[in-house]
Every structure is written in structure tokens, then in C-alpha cells.
Symmetry: C2
Subunit: 495 residues, 2 copies
């Protein structure tokens, strides 16, 4: 029996061991398999092999190398050339010819500098920016627009961008470009607008894909584009203000025009360095009343275009406020709009309603010689437009026109008028509306009057002038208006 007793344990141990062994073998196999799989998966991304580039790698890199470029968004698509070093720049061909190569480094001018993009209808957008001037003169850059709906069930749509060079002939390193992106059909609200800008390099096709607009869902009401009701009747789009401007002149200009254009008007000024602290103080009361908006555009100074990129700036203003105003005015802060006494701005604009655009004739005023009819002391205290009352009668008035447009019909603003609009343009409005130009008065920080006269006709520096008190005559009304509207906060403003 003892044997029996002894036999059993042995058998059982064998059984036990074999069972464990079999069991753990299976585990080992599974475990080894997993080890191999995970190890491969772990090492794969670090192997610099030539497997095709996945989107994730792409974004991963872009996010680190594109200078001022949003993450995951700008890509330059091209055939990658083989690497060259200084010593590999040439080779001798079989026929003895020395094959030379040329390698480009860095960027002297960006392909596109994005300022803004705005929806302009159910299926159309405008992109405003700068691009290399000689590229547009000698090269063949092109633009393609892509709308990527936020709704993943909707496919992106693409269309050819229509390029408008609004300051043609004026650019320096950069020229202003407005790209009109009109899609074949309605683009649902909510999405990203991508501008694909191609330089047209004959050898390689360099394309930058630029996210120019991100439209949140339900952020747009399409009735905006059809409704005749606008937030403002008149909106002023100023061009780039720069230099050491006179606070007093700016004070006079804004007071005059806020009164002139009335309650339902708004003024957009662009600060390229000209709205220094003292100038900002004369604007502050009007900003607080919601009559003035200032855009700080100083950063554009980095990009050398025409006069502080004024064409880009006014085109941004056009498209930004395009459906917020019935009429938009484009003139400078040394210019004063005027309508005959029997008229009002309202009556005049109603009479011009059939036109998409009209140009405004200049009345050139001297900003040196002044009318002293009120006596020297009073003259000194007078506002600029009260004393600078002599009009240059020699200067050709047709020169240097300014203009107003019904912006919903306009696709881009231009030099002295828009050349990209639908509808009629009127050039004979001089009997209804004009502007008085005090050239150079805004940028001198001192008493403007260099010489005083009180005759109705004077000749100064061999140039004939006549006394024209048109603007002077409303001086009191403007001062009173300012006092009533913002009080005496600006009384101590300096020249």
C-alpha cells in the first residue's frame, strides 16, 4: 500500500508540471508575438527610411518650421530636388559640357501677406493682402480658393480666385492684391477659406496654402447681403495715417465731418503711426461715442508697399464694412467735403442713388496764406479752415479726385476711384458735392498761417488766389456742435 501511496504523488507532480508548462508556453507565445509587434510599432517613426510622408509627419514638421504660419495649414508643394552642397553645384556631362546649377535660399519677398478675408455673399468671399510686385509684373502668380465646411458630411469646394491689382503701377517691393473667390453655388455657413497661392515658378510649382478665414457655424445671416437696410448711411474709410500729424487739425476735421455726415455715419481711421498719443486724445471722445473706429495697422510697415500700403488698408475697409453702410467715402484728413447750402448730404446722396460711384472735384486751398478779416488775435485763435480761406484758382480742379461708392456694388477700391464695380459711375457731381483740400496743413505742427491778407483776390508766389469762405462760414456751427456733443474736453488741443 505504501507503494501505492508513493506512486500517486509522482504521477500528480508530472501532471502538474506538464499542465503548467503547456499553459505558460501559450502565454509565452502570445507575449512574444505582442513584444515583436509593439517593438516594431515603437521604433517605426524614428527610422529615417524613405517611406511616404504621412499627414501627421507633415503637420508635425510644418508646425515647427513655417515662420509666421499657423500650425497644420501652410504647405509648399513641389518636387523635392536632391540635396546639393557647395561642391556639388556642377558636373561635367559626357559631351564635355559643364552642367551648372543654381540654388535658391531664403525669402526676399513673401509670396502672399494676408491681412483679412470677408464673406461678400452666399457664395463669394474677398481676400485682401500683399504680394511681391515684380512677381506680378514679370511672373504669373495665380490663386485658387477652397471652402472647407466645418460640417464633415459636406465636401470642400474649390474655385479659381479672380485677382484684382488695385494699385497697379504703384507698388514697391509689395503690391496690393484683392482676390475675389466666387464659388459656383452657395457655401454653407461655417467653414474655413483656404487661399492656395502659386508663384508660377516655371521649373517648380510652389504653392502656399493659406487659411484666410475661419467662419464659425451659424455666424452669418444671409439676409444681410440682400437687405436694403444698413447700419450706417455713410461710412468714411480713411487711408493710412502716418507722420507727425497736427492734433488740432485732426480735431477740426473730425468735428466738421461728424456734424456734416450726421447721426447715421461712422468713421474708420487707420493708424500707420500718424495717430500718436496727442492725436488719439482728440479722437477719444468720438471713439467713446461710437462715432469713430481706429485700426492700428502699424505692423504693415514691415512690408514695403505704396504709401504705407494704403490700398490694402482701404480695400480691407471696403470689404469689412461693405454691408454695414449705404455709401462709403474715400478721401483724406486734409480734405473737407461740402454740399451747397440749399442742399443737405441726404438730399445730394438721394439724387445720386442711381450711381454705384461718383467722383468728387477738388477745391485747392492754400495752407500757407490766411484771411485776417477777424483781426490778428482772433485769427490766431481761429480754426484752420476758418483762416485758410484762399483758394488756388490756377490749379486744374480735375486733378486728384476723391470718390464715394455704394459698397455692395464694389469689388475693390482703387487710386482715385474704383475700377472694379457693377453699375454706373458719375463724374459730373461738382454742382452737388465738392471737397476743399488744405494740402500739407495736416502734417505741420505749428500755426499754419505764414502770411495774412484780407483782400478778396491775392497773388502769392506768382500764383493767383481768391477768397473762398465756404468752409470758413460753418466754423462757428462746427465749434458749437463739438462743444454740445463732447463738451470742452478738447479746448486745450495744440497745433
Amino acid at each position: 500500500m505504501v507503494k501505492d501511496k508513493e506512486q500517486h504523488p509522482i504521477k500528480e507532480k508530472k501532471l502538474l508540471v506538464s499542465l503548467i508548462w503547456n499553459f505558460s508556453t501559450e502565454l509565452k507565445l502570445i507575449f512574444m508575438a505582442l513584444l515583436v509587434i509593439f517593438t516594431l510599432a515603437t521604433l517605426l517613426p524614428f527610422i529615417p527610411s524613405s517611406f511616404s510622408l504621412s499627414t501627421s509627419d507633415f503637420r508635425f514638421c510644418i508646425s515647427r518650421f513655417s515662420s509666421a504660419v499657423p500650425v497644420n495649414t501652410t504647405t509648399t508643394t513641389e518636387v523635392l530636388p536632391e540635396k546639393k552642397t557647395a561642391t556639388e553645384l556642377e558636373r561635367v556631362l559626357a559631351n564635355g559640357v559643364i552642367k551648372r546649377t543654381f540654388t535658391g535660399y531664403g525669402s526676399a519677398a513673401y509670396n502672399f501677406i494676408s491681412m483679412s478675408a470677408y464673406r461678400g455673399g452666399v457664395n463669394t468671399f474677398a481676400v485682401i493682402g500683399l504680394s511681391s510686385k515684380p512677381l506680378h509684373v514679370y511672373g504669373h502668380p495665380s490663386y485658387r480658393c477652397e471652402w472647407v465646411p466645418l460640417d464633415p458630411t459636406q465636401d470642400p469646394v474649390s474655385t479659381l480666385g479672380f485677382k484684382i491689382l488695385t494699385d497697379w503701377g504703384y507698388g514697391r517691393i509689395y503690391t496690393t492684391v484683392v482676390v475675389n473667390c466666387t464659388f459656383p453655388s452657395t457655401t454653407a455657413v461655417g467653414g474655413n477659406l483656404i487661399l492656395h497661392a502659386t508663384t508660377g515658378d516655371p521649373d517648380r510649382n510652389l504653392t502656399d496654402s493659406i487659411p484666410v478665414l475661419t467662419e464659425p457655424p451659424n455666424s452669418v445671416d444671409f439676409t444681410l447681403y440682400s437687405s436694403p437696410k444698413k447700419k450706417y448711411d455713410y461710412l468714411y474709410c480713411g487711408s493710412s495715417l502716418y507722420g507727425n500729424l497736427s492734433p488740432q487739425r485732426v480735431r477740426e476735421w473730425i468735428a466738421y465731418h461728424v456734424r456734416f455726415f450726421g447721426e447715421r455715419s461712422h468713421f474708420v481711421l487707420h493708424d500707420a503711426g500718424g495717430i500718436h498719443d496727442e492725436v488719439f486724445e482728440v479722437l477719444r471722445p468720438w471713439i467713446e461715442l461710437g462715432r469713430v473706429t481706429v485700426h492700428d495697422i502699424r505692423e504693415q510697415e514691415r512690408f514695403d508697399g505704396y504709401y504705407h500700403n494704403q490700398f490694402m488698408v482701404v480695400n480691407d475697409c471696403l470689404h469689412r464694412y461693405r454691408f454695414a453702410a449705404k455709401w462709403m467715402f474715400f478721401f483724406d484728413v486734409d480734405e473737407f467735403i461740402y454740399v451747397p447750402e440749399k442742399e443737405t448730404i441726404k438730399s445730394v446722396m438721394e439724387s445720386l442713388e442711381e450711381y454705384s460711384q461718383f467722383t468728387i472735384e477738388q477745391m485747392p486751398m492754400s495752407s500757407k496764406i490766411c484771411y485776417s478779416g477777424d483781426g490778428p488775435a482772433r485769427t490766431y485763435r481761429n480754426w484752420g479752415f476758418e483762416k485758410m480761406a484762399y483758394r488756388d484758382v490756377k490749379k486744374v480742379p480735375r486733378r486728384d479726385r476723391k470718390y464715394a461708392v455704394q459698397p455692395s456694388n464694389v469689388f475693390a477700391t482703387g487710386v482715385h476711384m474704383s475700377q472694379n464695380l457693377q453699375g454706373k459711375t458719375y463724374h459730373k457731381a461738382e454742382s452737388k458735392i465738392r471737397y476743399f483740400h488744405y494740402h500739407g496743413s495736416i502734417s505741420q505742427r505749428r500755426e499754419p498761417c505764414r502770411h495774412l491778407f484780407n483782400d478778396s483776390r491775392v497773388v502769392f508766389e506768382n500764383n493767383p488766389y481768391v477768397l473762398d469762405t465756404t468752409i470758413r462760414d460753418v466754423g462757428l456751427a462746427v465749434k458749437t456742435f463739438e462743444m454740445r456733443t463732447i463738451g470742452n474736453r478738447l479746448l486745450r488741443t495744440r497745433q
Copy 2:
């Protein structure tokens, strides 16, 4: 005993199960731990987290995204701005002002396009390339040169690059730039020359560091720069050849000038598309004899400069062969150099030895009207310069001068002469050396003669011409020379 027998199995089963359980539990734990670790390791690279960039990432990406840039060599140093998306392009400041931003994308014009760099002495180098034209007109690009010796015990040295704009006023998108890098003291042979090119962006300082020259150890013998002995007496640097050139005209030109300049001369031609197969065939015998070298510069067409970047090309030629020739000539392949019969090119050049440069006056020939003195059949078989023997006597000869230089004194070539050289320039060599210009003859692929005359004076299209057989008279000698030198290989050459 039966009980006993029955008890055992139960105990043993319990033991067995528990053992297996414990064992497999441990395995499970290890296995789960490994699973977690490897899963993390696997997913890590794909998580767009903001861990800092390692060099390997850097190279990994650069090699995929920098356009024509050698790996690890070009870096654009700048402060990286915070990422922006389309919606973050503006913000409202405390005072109500809307702060606008501007974002640049891509490259419309490279900061610098490197063609070549050559050592020009014990401590001086020349770098030849292209750069954005408006950048140089409106901007303030600058260049710094750095010499990095291969010998690690020697420190790199740095100097300001002197920029020469040799085609000032002629560029389009690109202009030719020659950067003279002269270091304060001798730069030991063997090293890398790095050109640091800065665009001068007022906001950011974008600098591209470009490896322009790799000089192997012991690859230069400094006596080269001081020795009066040169490989050639006369070297011709041709400008960019393009268009559908006439093989026969090129055949005539090269035969004439190889004979004219003699044994110790060499001809460097630059193919911008003009040396097509038929033209190459007329050059091949001379290439095989080592009298002609052709550089294929077609790749420069990608970069839109003045006339196929001819100024870059001739400056490359100047610096490449600067110490290989006593004199260098710059003129075109429709122009034939001539010295009076009593002189030889050798005697003339010796008489001009005191000058670093002299200009050559033009004799404008008609490439339409021909001299038929040999009778129509013979005239037809004549070479171009044998029959185009009528000289325009109205055209102002001073126009369109060509020139020759002693290159060791010259730092850059120019339009119709070099303006960057040391030593005297002579403009009154017309009695010693002239060139006959058959304008337009080279680029028409047909019999040039449109009208035949045999008078000594003719008026054609209201313009007076005189018979001038200066070049015509050497026709037989040139043909004989060609036959003797390369045999009859070119007999069947077509217009």
C-alpha cells in the same frame, strides 16, 4: 483504503489549480504592464504635444520641406512669432483700437540664388549669384562672409561682404549680385566659405547662411595669384546664348576667332538654350581640341533676370578664369574683333598693357544687304562675313562698346565695361582694335542676304552704307585655317 485513494485526487487538484492560477497571475501582471508601456511608446509620436524639438526632428523635416536647400546648412534665424489662425489676426486693445496683424506666407523671390564662389587671393573670395531686385532698390540687404577652416584648431573668421550690383537698373525679378569677401588676413587653404545674407526686414532680421564654397585641403597654390605666367593669353567670356541660333554663323564666328586669337587663347560659351544640337555640332571639333568650353546654364531660366542672367554668367566667367588668362574679352557671337593688317593681336595687346581695361568701338554692318561682286552663285556659297560687307555709316559708332580687361585687376564685369577694377581704363583704342557687328545675323536661320549690290556706296531704306571688305578679305584664310585644323567635318553645316 478506498477512502484514502479517493481523498488524494481532490487535494492534488486543489493544489494544481491554485499553482496554475498563481503562476498565470504573475504572467498576466507582467504582460499587462508591458502592454501599457508599449502602447504609450507607440502612440507618443503621434500626440501633437509641445515637447521641444530635437535635432533629429529638425533634419527629418528640413529634408522634406526646404525647397532647394542643402540639409542642415541653411538656417533662417528669426524670432518665431506665436502661432496665428485666421481668426486670431486681430484683437481689440484696452483703448478700443483694433490691433491688426499681417502674416507672410511662402517665397515670391529668393533672398539669394547661389551660382558660384571662387578664391581670388590669399584672403579674398568672390561670390556670384542673384537676389531680389526690389529688395536691393527699396530694401537694405547686407552680406557677411565667414571662413570656417577645415583645421579644427583654427577659429572661423568673419568679414563684411562688399556688395557689387553689376547690372544696376537692368534686373527684373532678380538682379545680379557679386559679393566680394576680403578678410583682414590670409585665410588658410582648406575650409568652407559661408555667406550670411540678411534681407534687412525692419521687423525681423531674416538671415540665410549659405555654404557657397568648399575648399579641400592643399587644393590651392598661392603663387597662382602673384605669378605673371598665365595658362592663356586671351580668354573669351561669352554671355548667355539663347534662341534658335544659326549653326553656320556660329561656325564662321568660332573659326574666325580661334584663328584670330591664336594658340594661347580659349573660348568659354554659355548655353541658355541657344546651343541646340546643330550648333553644338559646329562647336564639338573645337571642344575636342580643347579650344572651347561650354557651360550649360539653362537652369538659370527659372530666375527671371536681365537677358537670361547674362551679367551673372559673365561674372562667373570672370572669377572662374580670373587667374588663368592675361586678358579677357567680352563681346557677342555676332561681333568680329579686328586689328589693322600691320598689327597682330599680340602687338596690339602689348601696346595696351599699361591699362587694366580698354573699350572697343563698333563698326555696324548690315546683316540684310550683301556684296555680290563674286557673282550670285559664289555669293550664295560665301560665308556670312564675306558677303555682309556693307557698313552703316549713319549709326553713331560710340554706341554699344565692348571691352577687354586684365582680369586680375577686375572685381566685377559690367554692362559695356567693368566699373569695378583697379588701374586705368582706355577709351581711344579705335585705331588699334575694333569690332564689326552683324546685328541680328546670328539669330536668323536662313540665307542672310535679302538684297544684293556691288557698288561701293549704296543707300538702302534711306540709310547710307559703304562697302567695307575688312573682314571679308580674311574669308579665304579663315576657311583654310578651319580645314587645316579640324578637317572637313563642318562642310555640310546649314544656315
